[in-house]
Each structure stands twice: as C-alpha cells, then as structure tokens.
C-alpha cells in the first residue's frame, strides 16, 4: 500500500479547466516549499526514527489533516452557497462525547460511533435551521457556534468534569499512530476523502449540490429537491468536522471544549477559497480544497522553521488572503491593468 497522495482527482476529467484552476494554489504551495527549502536547509529531509517517518514535509501533511477534513465538509456547504460557522463547536462536542463515554466505560468503537453521531446531530440541527426554517446560513450556524462549546463543557460536567483526559488505544491509534512508518491519520483522511468523493462524484449528489448553489430556482424547476440537498450538505459537513474532532481529541488525550479548534472555521473557509472555491457557491473542488489546507499549513510550518517568530504567521496568512481576494476581483484586476479606468459601476 502506498501513502495516498491528495491529487485533484475529481477534476481530472476536465483537463482544460483543471489546468486553469489548479495552477494558482499549486504554484502557491510550490513557492512556499521552495522558499522554505532555500531559507532553511534540510527542509526536505525525511528520515525514519523509531519506525516512523519524520520531517517537515510529513509534518505539514500531518498537521494539515484536521483542517483539511473540516475544509472538505466546508467545501460541500459552500457549494450550496452556504457556510458553516459551527464546525469548531461540532469538534468541541465530539471531543466531549468521546471523553465522557470513555469515562463511562463504553467500548471504544461504540464511543467512536457515538462521537460521529453527535456530530451528525449538529449537522441535522444546522440543516434544519437553514433548509427547514430558511434562515440565512451565516446566522443559522452562528447559534451553534456560540453555544456549542458550552454544550461541550456541559457534557464534561456529566462525569464531574474534573479530569476530561482519557486513554484509548483505538482512537489514539487512529490519530497519532502509524502504519508502515506512515501516520495512520493520513490513511484515515485519505479514506474519508475517498468516501466523500465517492458520495459527491459517483452519485449525482455533487451535481445537485452545485446546481442548487449555482441557481436554486433553476435547480428546483429542473426537478432537484433543493431543500433536501441543502440539508444533506450540512450533515456531511458536520460529519467531516466530527472526524476532525476525533483526530484532534485523540491527539491531545483530552476534551477541552473551550479552546479546541479555535478559529478552525476560518481556516477551513480560507482553505476552500485558496482552493479556488467561490463563496457565491456552485462549485465543489474537493482536491483543490485539500491543496488549500496544505498551503495554509505549509505557510505556518515554514514560518516556524525559518526562525521567524511564530506571531508572523497570522499576518502572513492575512496577506495571503488579501492577495487571493484581489486576484479574484474583476475590479481590482482592471484597476491594475488600466489604472485610470478603475471606476466601478
């Protein structure tokens, strides 16, 4: 078996368009890696210590995994022209459920199922608000974003809440373990990516989501059940966040609802945007979203390695966001190409 490389498979069937879209994020990734290689010699070194791979490149992929998983779900929701701000809260709840049920002595496989079930419930709630009640996504998901971490804390309280840390061979094996020198979470992430890709691209769900995000009225007239599709998208997103929650919680051996996955929704949205997704909806680029998450993590890791103080990380990230935004904006491009005709409509 080989390590799954996160190639942009789903778009590989549209050669011309893929080239166009994939070029920029890939170039960005390459540029970051090349600059890092020049700044810090030995950046590309990969060695095997105690039977597992070590090195910056491995580190980037390893650390990017949770964000990438969340971003994949986010890409699906953004495809419907929506957004999910509550993924961080979903992760917090997932983690709390894991710690709680392990304390209660449930079999760990059951615990895993329960954690994912809790995440699914979060998705059902969001989907109900957005698709059922017709509340604007950004507002609807704000509710769980605000209260979700509190729910996590409350679950901690169910068993006293004093010691939310736990040990679990199964979950930690999934998160921090390794298989044939390769971190298990990469296999896990690859499997989830594959599953999501199959659901999106091997059924008609992807087409339906994209049609709803692109033009909900037209999709409805073409026979697509726009509400149901939107609902499903939020559930899928929460499920992805749930898996990220499993990995993150098992990584720290503890449930910390207040600070786990802080700002992960922003990173995930950013990953989607860097991967070429538009918040206006209508397209899902799963492969490119993973690249987006890698770009973000490569940036973070490179800054750490280069000896720059880690506090530059956020500033650099902001500059990257602004740069990507300016590239995507017609007005800005026009202003750059013909500085005297920058008047907007």
């Amino acid at each position: 078996m080989m390590a799954e490389q996160t190639e942009p498979r789903p778009v590989a069937m549209r050669p011309r368009m893929k080239l166009h879209r994939a070029v920029w994020p890939l170039l960005a990734l390459a540029a970051i890696l090349i600059v890092s290689g020049i700044v810090s010699p030995g950046f590309y070194n990969i060695r095997i210590v105690e039977g597992r791979l070590f090195g910056n490149l491995i580190d980037i992929v390893y650390r990017a995994t949770p964000t990438a998983l969340v971003a994949l779900g986010m890409a699906v929701v953004i495809g419907t022209k929506g957004i999910d701000l509550s993924v961080g809260s979903t992760i917090a709840i997932t983690g709390a459920v894991i710690a709680w049920r392990i304390q209660m002595g449930d079999p760990h496989l059951v615990v895993l199922m329960m954690a994912l079930g809790a995440a699914t419930l979060c998705g059902i709630w969001n989907g109900f608000l957005v698709a059922g009640l017709g509340i604007q996504p950004i507002i609807a998901t704000l509710i769980l974003m605000v209260s979700g971490r509190g729910i996590g804390l409350l679950i901690n309280l169910l068993y006293g809440g004093t010691n939310p840390s736990f040990e679990s061979a199964l979950l930690q094996g999934l998160s921090t373990g390794h298989l044939m020198s390769i971190p298990t979470r990469l296999f896990l992430a690859a499997a989830i990516f594959l599953a999501l890709w199959l659901i999106i691209r091997r059924t008609a769900l992807g087409l339906f989501i994209e049609s709803v995000g692109g033009n909900a009225a037209a999709a409805n007239l073409a026979g697509v059940n726009a509400r149901l599709i939107t609902f499903v998208a939020y559930v899928l997103c929460a499920l992805c966040a749930g898996w990220a929650g499993v990995i993150m919680t098992a990584d720290t051996h503890t449930s910390d609802p207040v600070s786990v996955a802080m700002y992960i929704e922003l990173d995930a949205i950013l990953a989607v945007v860097i991967g070429g997704g538009s918040l206006a909806g209508g397209r899902i680029h799963l492969g490119m979203t993973v690249i987006g998450a890698l770009v973000i993590q490569a940036l973070t890791t490179s800054i750490l390695i280069s000896g720059l103080p880690p506090e530059y990380n956020l500033v650099v990230k902001a500059v990257v966001v602004l740069f990507v935004l300016l590239l995507q904006s017609d007005n800005a491009r026009r202003a750059i190409t013909s500085p005297f005709r920058g008047r907007a409509r």
Partner: protein
C-alpha cells in the same frame, strides 16, 4: 396600531426586565443600582464594540475584526505607555487608526465586491498577528491616568454608581443614536441594508457610505479596545478574542436583523446588557458552570432569530427570496 419596527426592541427590553426580576427573586440585593452599575462597567467594552457592529450589520454587512482590534489597541496603548505617551494621546492615535483600518476594509468590500465576511476575516488575522508582533506578553499600563479613570464615577440613586467605562459607553450610545437617526449618513445606512440596489437607484453613494460605515465600525472597536485597556490597566495580545461573537450576539438580541435594514442602536445596548446579566446571574448562582453562559446565549439567540424570521415573514418587510 403598534409600529412593527419597535416589536423586536420591545421583546429585548421585556427579556432584560424579566431576567433582572428573576435575579431579584433568587438573590437578595440583586435588584439594585449597584448590580446594574457593575453589569454596565463589566460589559461596557463589549457594548461599545456592539454599537459599532450595529451600524455594520444594519447595512447588511458583518465585521469579524472587532476582537482583534480590541487586542491590538490594547497592546499598542500599553507599549506607547511604556514609551512615555499619555494614554489619552495614544488613545487618540489609535482611534484614528481604527477609523482608517475600518475604512480600508469598507473600500475593499465595495471596490472588490468581496463579501464583508471574508475581508474582515483577513482583518481579524492581520490585527491579531500584529498584536503578537507588538508584544507577546501582557504589558501593564502604569500611567496615573489609569487610576483616575478607574476611580472617576458618578453615584446613582441607591448604592450604585456609573464607572467611567459606563459613562463612555453611554456617551458613545448618544453619538450613535445621533448618527443613526439624525444624519443623512445614518439614513443611508438603513437604506443600503434595506435594499442595496434600490438605494443605488435612489441616489445613495454606495461606496462612500460603505467606507464610512466600516470606518465607524473601526472607530467603535478601537474605542472598545481603549476602554478595555484602561479597565484592565494592561495590554494583552490575546485580549478580546471572540468579542466579535459577543458583539454580533448583542446586536441580534437587541433586535437588529442580521439581514440588514431593520434595528435600533438602543436595542443593542439592551442586547449587550442581557448577555452581561446572564453571566452575572450564572456567576451569582455559584454551582452553575460557565457552560451555561454560552448555552443560554445560544438559546436566546435562537429564539430571537426565529422571532425575527417570523416577524419578517408576517410583516413582509423584505421580499422573500
């Protein structure tokens, strides 16, 4: 016939009074100006930030950079204090910075036609990163003005008093009400939030107004940062994290529609007070966990959002999409 405009505000005030009465029934001495004064003092910075957010949300936008602005202003105040600046001088400088930064965000939003969410998200990253670049640790502000600020207070009937934070908050509320309801600019904000395309056709200068709205939002966030720094007499690079969430929640609880166009600045103050009241009540209770603060805020938020949805539907204030 009741003006539909005031229904959400009425709901907000009712919830506030009800919560206050519940507190009074549960604890002796709760129904006093002392408690009220403390709630005002503790939440002044959130409410000030929320007032700024009200303008942004009324225009149909959103500002995520509030919390980072509070942190950034705080560390700058502290560092300038060590460099020998008077806090008022550094405050003036940072308020100007707030306006400029907000205005820049507004310009990007309109000129590049990017969602406010994303632009202000970049602002969030930028300012928080800048915080760490200025200082990694908590820096105390030692100027004697801080002492003056902390001790200046206006007594209220009963044992209570208004702290200077609360006074600044009430003053900024007065200014905000003036801007929202007595200026062309304020009317234009409501127009853009109500229907941007119609506003354009009616001659509202969209770009200038958008820039001014976010400039105003930046001003209020910076002011909140100044108050927070003086209140805690320090600058801390992580200060104000997620304050933007509390501010948005206060705005929604205050009866402003997140879709824009409908709402009152005064409502936001009550919304912020409700949030403060909830945490005070839960802290008073002692055995309840801070988790309940988040959960009850979320539940209230849910209630208000559904109420708004229902109101919008029944009064047909906006066309359904």
């Amino acid at each position: 016939m009741i003006n539909a405009k005031y229904l959400p505000l009425a709901a907000t005030v009712t919830v506030f009074v009800a919560l206050f009465l519940v507190g009074g029934m549960m604890y002796r001495n709760f129904l006093s100006t002392l408690v009220l004064g403390h709630i005002l003092a503790d939440n002044a910075f959130v409410i000030i930030a929320a007032i700024g957010a009200t303008f942004v949300i009324l225009s149909g936008g959103i500002d995520l950079s509030i919390g980072s602005m509070i942190g950034f202003v705080g560390v700058c105040m502290a560092v300038l204090d060590q460099a020998g600046w008077h806090p008022l001088a550094s405050a003036a400088l940072l308020l100007c910075f707030g306006i400029l930064f907000g205005a820049m965000q507004g310009y990007l939003i309109d000129f590049c036609e990017i969602q406010p969410f994303i632009v202000t998200l970049a602002g969030l990253f930028l300012l928080r990163g800048a915080c760490f670049m200025v200082s990694l640790d908590s820096v105390p502000i030692r100027h004697e003005f801080v002492q003056t600020f902390a001790t200046t207070r206006i007594p209220l009937p009963g044992r209570g008093f208004l702290t200077s934070s609360a006074i600044v908050m009430l003053l900024s509320l007065a200014v905000a009400i003036f801007i929202a309801h007595f200026t062309r600019f304020g009317t234009n904000i409501y127009a853009i939030g109500g229907d941007k395309e119609s506003a354009r056709l009616m001659g509202v200068p969209i770009r200038r107004t958008t820039v001014m709205i976010y400039g105003l939002g930046g001003f209020y966030s910076a002011l909140a940062g100044v108050i927070y720094a003086l209140y805690t007499s320090s600058g801390y690079p992580l200060a104000g994290s997620t304050t933007e969430l509390s501010a948005i929640a206060a705005v929604v609880l205050g009866g402003t529609l997140l879709t824009g166009g409908v709402g009152l600045v005064a409502g936001t103050v009550f919304g912020g007070m409700i949030l403060g009241l909830i945490s005070t009540l839960i802290i008073f209770h002692g055995s309840l966990n801070s988790a309940w603060i988040m959960i009850s805020s979320g539940m209230l938020l849910f209630g208000f959002i559904v109420l708004h949805r229902f109101l919008v539907g029944s009064f047909d204030l906006r066309g359904s999409s």
